[in-house]
């Protein structure tokens, strides 16, 4: 995790392995972390919450987080709430894809061009939420 003495927003992706939406959540989160809002965001490995990641839990308690879930089981949101606190914002990929007039999504292992287009839109949405969180930072 990067230096946290400044304003940072934690992005917590479910990265669900069983479905393509989990891959979309993961890649979209990476696009935000690496390109769209690289200076304003850090990520936290979700499984670390249970595996003894004290730093991760403390970060998510002390700093605002945005959870990105692939499906409506919302594992990232549920686990963040359980171990650290309510996320500042929560995004569910399947909710977004309903509204994006999506083509048939690709296989979960490798995203095709059309699914990457959807993924970039999810990343844009996460970036907007980051801006919103930072705008209301007190």
């Amino acid at each position: 995790m990067t230096e946290t003495s400044e304003k940072k927003v934690g992005i917590i992706s479910c990265s669900g392995e069983e479905c393509v939406e989990g891959t979309i959540s993961r890649v979209a989160a990476r696009l935000v972390l690496g390109k769209l809002r690289s200076n304003e965001t850090v990520t936290i490995c979700l499984p670390l919450f249970l595996a003894g990641g004290r730093e991760e839990r403390e970060f998510a308690r002390d700093y605002p987080t945005i959870t990105v879930d692939g499906c409506d089981k919302m594992c990232a949101k549920v686990s963040t709430e359980r171990y650290s606190g309510k996320p500042a914002s929560s995004i569910v990929v399947t909710n977004l894809t309903k509204n994006l007039q999506c083509p048939k999504l690709s296989a979960r292992r490798k995203l095709d061009n059309e699914t990457m287009t959807v993924t970039r839109k999810v990343a844009d949405r996460i970036a907007e939420e980051v801006d919103e969180v930072l705008r209301h930072w007190v």
Binding site: E17, L31, K73
Partner: protein
Amino acid sequence: MKSISSQHKKIIVIPCSGIGKAFGSISRDATYEVVENLRKDVTQTLCLALLVSGDQESLQLVRNNQVITVDGCPLQCAEKNVKLAGGNLAGSLRVVDAYKENRQLKPRGVTFLDNDGQQMALALAGKIANKVDDLLVEQ
């Protein structure tokens, strides 16, 4: 390769899918290679996040089937979480072990694996498949 019967219970392969470094992506890609290609009839994967969130169906799945975990870093989140869930942990592999055996490879990409990362994932997938075969023989 030893003969494999699809009559066996499924072996669950769970990667850590760590999102911060290439090794997490390698654990994920290696798992997909096993469950979609190398041993697709006898294995399946499971969302680690779903298990972590306490989903009852996932808990039963890891308790009633043999589980192989694939971890990207020394924190071994996949292994630890399966143990915490009371899962039937039958094997634990680490990306770092594949790295030690393939030092010529220098994986870099995280969002998308580069060629070296994909090669390392394939090497690791072979090790996972071997472990699957060993478990099937024991069964």
